[in-house]
């Protein structure tokens, strides 16, 4: 919608790239809404990396192309519309940029090339059993012994920990200090002795998150990012990375396309679903919300492009974009009716072949339950409300 001629050409180039290079088995797996396994993700990462498109938003020095915010949004959108899997934000949007901004040269050299190659996976050790939205109350502690920390505690809701090579982790290094003050930011090798990962199966049918137990895990001091007890600043800045992306316009459009595909291939009362009044009204309703979200994101993009601060106000993009995804998923489930009811967990985790088949129905229920996470993770909708109430409306 914001396309200039240059941006249109850019969009076309990404569109063609995805059409030409995305392997068909991956495309089909994504189309069906199934989860792409790590092996195939690595293959796709390698293809992207060889075209300079895995971390195009990174600094040039570390293999990026310095994409503008606008280009990033278009890139995400075309990837989603071309049925490419969503890339792991924790790895590429969070720890990568954190290392570029706060890491020392040795840390940057050690990790950034591996991340940029797409063969190293990260997870985020933030939440704990008793520290969810109230992250600063975390209790996992790290004691400094000579040149390493000894870390003990547990993390929960850690997405992808069962596959991750590394975890960036918030730990308490000063128990006397006030909540936010005594926290440090550590990088932990998931193969370290003392780490146990317990996958947690979600209502959607498979394990997206995990509980991670840390029992006297030794972490070299050289793997602390920034100063001791100053980890909160990094954690907070991390929440600010890619805040514009949290509108999730591409992910919304991906689901819009699924809803349309379902409606175009189903009938009710002798008519295609696209002609049924209830479907038309609900689809149009969500389309209006998507157009409003996109227009509103455009306002913030304009600010970002002009180098102006985007401010706490941007929370509204996350608030609305995450909810809208759920509404599309609900529409898909309702449009499918009985077809959306069976759920086969084993099938969900298997990979599609390269042949086209219509299996959106098989994953619709799983996707709808999984999508509840959008309004919980990364600052729940209630937290976003609080941010807007306090920081924007000064209530």
């Amino acid at each position: 919608m914001w396309d200039t001629p240059e941006l249109s050409a850019f969009r076309q180039s990404i569109h063609s790239f995805v059409a030409a290079h995305l392997p068909n088995d991956i495309r089909q797996t994504v189309r069906e809404g199934r989860q792409v396994d790590r092996e195939r993700m690595h293959a796709w990462h390698a293809i992207l990396a060889s075209h300079g498109l895995l971390v195009p938003h990174w600094q040039v020095e570390w293999g990026g192309q310095g994409f503008s915010v606008m280009q990033q949004m278009v890139f995400d959108e075309e990837m989603a519309l071309g049925d490419a899997p969503e890339l792991n934000a924790i790895t590429f949007d969070m720890i990568g940029p954190v290392l570029q901004r706060y890491g020392n040269p040795a840390q940057q050299k050690r990790f950034l090339p591996d991340i940029a190659s797409g063969q190293q996976w990260w997870c985020q050790g933030y939440s704990e059993p008793n520290a969810g939205s109230d992250l600063a109350s975390l209790t996992t502690r790290a004691e400094l012994v000579a040149d390493h920390y000894v870390v003990t505690g547990s993390k929960i809701w850690t997405s992808g920990a069962q596959y991750a090579d590394w975890m960036f982790c918030l730990v308490r290094t000063d128990r006397e200090a006030r909540a936010q003050q005594g926290i440090s930011f550590l990088l932990i090798d998931m193969k370290s002795p003392g780490i146990t990962v317990r996958p947690i199966v979600g209502t959607h049918g498979w394990a997206v998150f995990n509980e991670v137990f840390l029992d006297q895990v030794e972490v070299p001091v050289s793997l602390r990012i920034g100063e001791e007890n100053r980890g909160w600043t990094i954690a907070k800045s991390l929440l600010e990375f890619e805040r514009l992306k949290l509108a999730r316009i591409g992910e919304n459009k991906r689901r819009r396309a699924r809803a349309l595909a379902v409606a175009n291939s189903r009938r009710e009362a002798g008519r295609p679903l696209t002609e049924r009044p209830w479907f038309r009204e609900r689809f149009a309703q969500l389309d209006c919300r998507l157009m409003a979200l996109e227009a509103n994101a455009g306002r913030f993009i304009e600010r970002a492009q002009a180098g102006e601060p985007i401010g706490a106000e941007v929370s509204m993009l996350k608030l609305r974009g995450s909810r809208l995804i759920q509404l599309w998923e609900e529409l898909i489930v309702d449009a499918l009716g009985p077809e959306a009811m069976p759920l086969d967990n084993a099938w969900l985790l298997s990979q599609a072949g390269a042949d086209p088949q219509d299996s959106i129905a098989g994953t619709a229920s799983s996707r709808r339950f999984l999508s509840r996470g959008f309004t919980i993770a990364g600052g729940s909708s209630e937290i976003q409300h609080n941010i807007l109430a306090k920081q924007v409306l000064a209530l």
Binding site: A261, D287, A292, A295, N296, G298, E313, L395
Partner: protein, 408 residues
């Protein structure tokens, strides 16, 4: 150029509108009129001096050839102060339609007068019992020598009282054509029943029994003439959305201020989280509505090949969205205020009624959602794009079988 922030000229326009409205607007305090005349219409000439009437008129006829973004910048201020004058209905809707369809001689006669505010028009497009459906035209125009004779009934003619001319859509007897006519106000065979709408603005029902004196502005096949009317109404609808966004923003500001000031249970009402979250919801919706309205206005500078379809889609989406937000805002304005939000004398009351009317005026949410659905689900443009995507995907699979199984 930014779609979302006003440029210097638009800022000036908005500024002068704010000054004028703060100085002399009585819309909020006057009791409702019953003669169908909006109270502020008396200041039409003053508003024309500020350039408002010239804004929608082409430069060639003494106007300023303002863009839709300019008009919306002004309209937002009018809504913020709930100005009760038919600016959108007369200057934007009827005036711009005349500029679109009238022959040169009529334009020369009318447009310079509209631009300086010495004349005013109104459009009679809707007929009884058909909601906002423009295609329902039972009014007939019959040619008798050089004279046109018009019979029929129109409803909700906004700004009709005191207008100098009325634009009327009619079927042309003896053909399948439609026409748009200009009737001199108060001519033979016309009866105007003035009404005051519940927010205080003036409208009228127009009955024509062998009405004479009409000038034919344009005639053509139904779809062609309806297309002109739809385009004119879409511009007015968009300007009206801007007006509504202004009114919503002020209603929100009044409500927020009140809740921050009034104490209950020993603390300001706004200190309660349940209240804060509801205020945030309203605030976010208003911000989205403004962004969508401004982006749609910026599309009016676009002259691409599918520009007309894109404008139609975006105006419909904007109105559908704004209508629902307006509804939410007025309900919350009443509820969060409590009983005082129900009173005629307290300021927010004027906004509550303006917004309640705005939700339905120029077509309510369901009306415009169906237009969006047509564009999303039926439009040939969308289908072309879809089949193109399928083609790409199939090509990529090395398969020659186009799939209709709905995997897109």
């Amino acid at each position: 150029m930014s779609a979302y922030t006003l440029d210097a000229q638009q800022e000036m326009l908005a500024d002068s509108a704010r000054n004028f409205l703060n100085r002399s607007n009585t819309s909020k305090s006057l009791p409702h009129q019953t003669d169908g005349q909006a109270p502020e219409v008396a200041k039409w000439a003053e508003m024309a001096d500020l350039g408002w009437m010239a804004l929608p008129v082409p430069e060639a006829f003494g106007g300023l050839s303002g863009s839709m973004a300019d008009i919306c910048a002004l309209a937002e201020e009018l809504g913020r102060e709930v100005l009760n004058a038919p600016y959108i209905a007369s200057a934007v809707l009827a005036g711009m339609l005349l500029a679109d369809v009238a022959p040169q001689v009529v334009r020369e006669d009318w447009l310079p007068a509209l631009a300086v505010g010495s004349k005013r028009l109104a459009l009679a497009a809707w007929e009884p019992g058909a909601r906002f459906d423009l295609t329902e035209v039972n009014t007939r125009a019959t040619q008798d020598g050089a004279e046109w004779i018009i019979d029929g009934k129109k409803v909700l003619v906004l700004g009709a009282s005191g207008a100098d001319g009325l634009l009327v859509s009619a079927c042309i007897s003896g053909s399948k054509d439609l026409g748009i006519f200009l009737l001199p106000a108060g001519g033979p065979g016309q009866q105007l029943f003035a009404q005051t709408l519940f927010d205080g603005q003036g409208a009228a029902e127009l009955s024509m029994h062998a009405a004479t004196g009409a000038t034919l502005l344009c005639r053509g096949e139904r779809h062609e003439v309806l297309g002109h009317l739809e385009a004119a109404l879409d511009r007015a609808t968009l300007a009206h959305c801007a007006d509504t966004v202004g009114a919503m923003a002020r209603a929100f500001a009044i409500t927020r201020e009140y809740l921050g000031t009034r104490s209950q249970f020993g603390k300001p009402i706004a200190a309660n989280q349940v209240v804060q979250h509801r205020l945030v919801d309203v605030y976010v919706e208003i911000e989205e509505a403004r962004s969508l309205m401004r982006m749609t206005a910026s599309l009016y500078d676009d002259t691409g090949s599918d520009a007309a379809a894109v404008k139609r889609r975006y105006v419909a989406a904007t109105k559908a969205f704004v209508a629902q937000v307006a509804h939410h805002v007025w309900e919350e304005s009443v509820q969060l205020h409590g009983a005082i939000g129900m009173t005629q004398e307290y300021e927010v009351g004027a906004y509550v009624k303006r917004l309640a009317l705005a939700a339905n005026l120029y077509g309510d949410a369901t009306f415009h959602l169906e237009r969006v659905a047509r564009s999303s689900l039926d439009s040939p443009v969308m289908h072309a794009r879809k089949s193109e995507q399928l083609k790409t995907a199939n090509h990529n699979k090395g398969s020659t079988h186009a799939t209709s199984s709905g995997i897109v």
